[in-house]
Every structure is written in C-alpha cells, then in structure tokens.
C-alpha cells in the first residue's frame, strides 16, 4: 500500500484521536471528557499499529514523525495514574507514612540515636561545665540566647513582644526554617549519607548545648515550657528526615544484591515518603510553636501538653495503619 492511500484511509481515525488528545490534555476539560472517551484505549492501539506499519512500510519520515508524536501524547494520557488528591493525602498520613517508617525501623532508630544521644550528652556536659557551651556557640550567640529566655522579661519565647500578629510571622518563619532543615537533612544523604549524619549530629549537639546552658543559668522555667509543646513533633521529624537521608547513603554504600543505581531508586521511593510525612509533622510543630508555645498558658499545662505530644507521636508511629503492615 502506498503512503497516500494509507493516509487517506486512516486519517479520519487520526483526526478523531487527535481531537480526543486535545481535550484530554486540557486540564479544564479532561474531568468531563475522561468518562466519555471509552474508545480511547482502542484508538490508541490502532494508532500504535498504524505507526508500526508506517515504519515497517518505509513511509516518509514526516509521516512517521507525525504518528510518533500522536502515539507519545496518547501514551502519556493512557498511562497517567489518576488519584483523588485529598483522599490520597489522608491515606498517606494514616497508613503509608507510618507503615514505611516501621519497615525501615532499624534506620530510623540509628538516626534517632545519632540525633538524641549527642543532644542528651551535650546537655548534661554543658550543665556541668560552664565553658563548654562556647565550644559550639560564640559569645554573641550565647548572650542573645540568654536575653531571649531571661525570666526577668515578661514574655518568654524567641521574640520579644509577641501578639497574635507576630505569631503568624513566626509561623511563616518556622515553616521556612524547619521544613527547609528537614529537606536538607534528607538531601545530604546523597553524599554517601555523610550530609545527613553531620546535620543530625550538629543539630543534636546545638540543641543539647542550648538546653543545658539555659538550665544551668536557672532559665529553665522560661525555656522548658516554651519548647515542651512542639518538641515532640519537631525533634521526631528531624530524626525521620535524617533516617531518610541515611537510606540514600545506605543504597550507595551497601546496595546489596542490586546495582547502586537500582538500590538508590528503590530507597529514594521510600525515603521520600518518610520526608513527606516528616514535613507534615514539621508544619504541625510550627503551628504549635507559633500559636501555643509562646502563649500565656501556665507551665504545668504546657508540660502536660508536651508529655501528651510524645505519647501521641509514639502511638501514631507504632500503631497507625498497623493492620496492613504485612502488605507490600
């Protein structure tokens, strides 16, 4: 069959197919069109066969290229995965994130140890030795820190005079700063895991040093109520981001039976789930830090909320979606 006859016979089908593609590629129209295009998969197979015929019959490169573009556009539409955004977000937080976390519990425990053990150790050491804090922070930073949590000031917290208005500003700052740190902790894992390792250690040591120093100065009464509310979510999330980074490092250092690239791909799939869940925890922590931690509630209540937070985090991470843990 010559090219002209072939084109004349098939072009009505191509025109029809192209019209469907145009409608499907238009994000506003596609919702209405997807249910009505029941013949689309059939037409796509027809186009694939026409494209293969055009190639094997050695038709002109122009025609082959035209059909190839049509097939490629159709491939994108046919193999696009569809999902309901809101439902998938809920399902993600209720099941996929905690399940993935438990599947990699060894790495999560390692990351948590790398973060919390230096933090506790440094806290105790700084509490004992007044000069040790200067090994990590310079004198200016320490002075600023002391002025922020000085009990002599009326309003404890990181900002001086805080109103509802500045709370929103602090929320924006906490999201930008903390989620950014979480993302960098994850990305650093691509450097053979070293980036995540360093960020976990440095953050753990700094937090421990600050807590130890302020407690030693008897500023604890302003410091601990402030951090107790958001601490459970924020600290856990940073450790989880570190675990995600360590997963990348593990794929590169110990890929096992797979190639390094295949191991990296597989671990990155799971790691990004951990990072996504941790980001949600960090945003939640930012809400509490901005609108509750600096608020006027009595210390006893703030401590209770903090303890409750740790219990909730533990229950959530160990129990959520547990019924499906054996599923792949």
């Amino acid at each position: 069959m010559k090219q002209d006859a072939f084109e004349a016979a098939a072009s009505p089908i191509w025109t029809n197919y192209r019209a469907m593609l145009d409608a499907l590629e238009n994000s506003r129209q596609r919702r209405a069109h997807v249910p009505t295009f029941t013949t689309f998969p059939h037409l796509h197979r027809r186009l694939c066969s026409d494209y293969a015929l055009a190639r094997s019959r050695r038709y002109s490169p122009g025609l082959i290229a035209e059909l190839e573009v049509l097939v490629r556009r159709g491939h994108r539409q046919l193999y696009r995965r569809r999902s309901a955004p809101l439902r998938s977000v809920l399902d993600f937080m209720a099941r996929r994130f905690p399940r993935t976390l438990r599947r990699h519990s060894a790495v999560v425990w390692i990351a948590a140890a790398l973060f919390f053990l230096p933090m506790i150790g440094m806290g105790i050491a700084v509490h004992q030795d007044a000069d040790l804090v200067y090994s990590l922070l310079d004198a200016e930073q320490v002075a600023e820190l002391e002025s922020l949590y000085d009990p002599a000031r009326q309003t404890p917290g990181r900002a001086g005079e805080r109103q509802a208005d500045t709370d929103v500003a602090m929320f924006g700052f906490y999201v930008m700063n903390n989620v950014g740190i979480g993302f960098r902790t994850f990305a650093g894992g691509l450097i053979l895991g070293l980036g995540s390792l360093v960020i976990l250690l440095v953050n753990g040591l700094s937090i421990g040093a600050v807590a130890g120093h302020l407690t030693r100065l008897d500023y604890g009464a302003t410091f601990w109520p402030f951090v107790s509310g958001h601490g459970p979510y924020e600290l856990t999330a940073i450790a989880i981001c570190g675990a995600a980074g360590l997963l990348l490092g593990q794929a590169l250092l110990a890929p096992g039976q797979r190639s390094r690239l295949a191991a990296l791909r597989a671990n990155a799939r799971d790691a990004v789930i951990l990072v996504g869940g941790a980001a949600v925890l960090l945003v939640f922590a930012a809400v509490i830090e901005a609108f509750w931690s600096a608020g006027p509630a009595p210390s006893a209540l703030k401590y209770s909320v903090g303890v409750l937070g740790w219990v909730l985090v533990a229950i959530y991470l160990t129990l959520a979606g547990r019924a499906g843990d054996d599923a792949p």
Binding site: R72, Y79, T166, A187, A271, V272
Partner: protein, 232 residues
C-alpha cells in the same frame, strides 16, 4: 549493536512500538533554570506588598519564600510536566518510560537539587549530566526521571505533486528514507545546499544541478504515491 551517537532514547511501550524520547542537555536546562529564577523573583515581587500588613503579611511572605524555594518546581511539574522556564525552552520532565512525572518522583528530583547545586552553581549536577548518557543529574538518577524535549509542533510537510518516476531497484531502506526526507524538508535549505544534497542522492544516475533535485522529488513522489496509472 553499537548505540547510535544521538540523544534519542527508545522506550518500548506495552503496545509493542518504540517511543522516542529526545533527552535535553545541560545548556537548554540551564537557560530554563535561569528563566525560572526570573519567574520566581517576579512572583516574589507580587507578594511583597503584603509586608504592609506587618506581622501577618510577613508570615505570608515567609511562607511564599518557602513555597518558591521548595515547592515551585514540584507543583508545575506534576500539573503540566514542566516549570514555566522549561515550557518556554520546550522541555518537559517524564519518567524514564515516557509517562508523566508524579508527585513522588518530582519531590525526589527537586529535593535532591540541594546536592546537585553543590559546591556552587550546579557543579555536581553538571558533572553528573556530562558523565551520564541521558544527561541526568543526581536527582534525576534517584527519581528515575528524564528531561526531554516536548513534542514538536505537528507541522507535517507535504511531498510536492510532481510526476512520479520509479527509483532504481534494490534501493536500501536508508536511501529511501533519505529521498523522502529530502522531498519533505528540502525547501527549508538554500538552493545551493539543496542541489548539493540532491546530487549525492541522484549522482548515481548522472543527474546534476536542478535536474538532480527534480529527479529526487520524482522518486519521492513514486515512493509516496506510486505510479501515475495506479500500479506501484
């Protein structure tokens, strides 16, 4: 079989046909990135007047900064396959099987951008792209994504309607394709170049100059439409 020196990557679909993915190199991607920087700055300028609302406005600006830094590429890639900069450059992000990029892959490749950016100005990413056959930076390697040229606009050239003449018998496939490609795209080059190309194709039968061009076009017409009396 040795791999051709080309940027086309073939992916076989479940329907059994080869899809051609034309991967994009560092230069157009760098330009797309710079265009995205401009777009981001423009978006930032739009939200800056919020600063008038003191603390509340500051909070929103900081949230916008976070969104522009981390979420801007993810949102655009998942929605339409390309950020505005990539769209202008005619690029798009796809999985390595040619399907549209999804949230997880887009997040991986864009969060790992931090490492590709090291030590300065995408040093690591550039080395990775130059080493890899498919111009993938580290984020692309981990996510299994490719940056490819989006579809060319479907402007199908036509073969001019001249009197067909059968070409010499036993013409190899490549030569047939070259003749057809010449007929479809020859008008896009200068007269001198067209004649030069036609003489390569028709030199075997002793045609020179414009006669060679006419000869090749006649062969192309025969290949595409067959003999005038319907045999062919």
């Amino acid at each position: 079989m040795p791999l051709p020196i080309d940027t086309v990557r073939l992916h076989e679909t479940p329907e059994g046909v080869d899809l051609a993915l034309r991967v994009a190199g560092p230069a157009p991607r760098a330009i797309a990135y710079l265009l995205d920087v401009v777009v981001r700055l423009a978006l930032l300028l739009v939200v800056l007047p919020l600063a008038a609302f003191s603390g509340f406005g500051t909070g929103l600006i900081l949230l916008a900064l976070f969104g522009l830094e981390w979420l801007y590429p993810v949102v655009f890639e998942v929605r339409s396959g390309a950020t505005p900069g990539k769209r202008i450059m005619g690029l798009m992000v796809v999985h390595d099987d040619g399907t549209p990029v999804r949230v997880a892959s887009s997040l991986i490749r864009n969060l790992l951008r931090t490492v590709d950016f090291l030590p300065i100005l995408y040093g690591v990413g550039l080395v990775s792209m130059l080493v890899d056959r498919d111009f993938r930076r580290l984020g692309d390697l981990a996510a299994g994504t490719l940056v490819v040229y989006a579809d060319a606009p479907p402007a199908k050239p036509t073969i001019s309607r001249v009197a067909p003449q059968p070409p010499p018998a036993g013409l190899p496939f490549e030569a047939q394709q070259a003749i057809l490609a010449f007929a479809e795209r020859g008008h896009a080059v200068s007269d001198a170049r067209r004649i030069e190309l036609a003489e390569i194709l028709a030199g075997g039968v002793g045609r020179q100059g414009e006669a060679a061009v006419a000869q090749v076009n006649a062969w192309a017409a025969w290949l595409a439409r067959g003999a005038p009396d319907g045999r062919g």
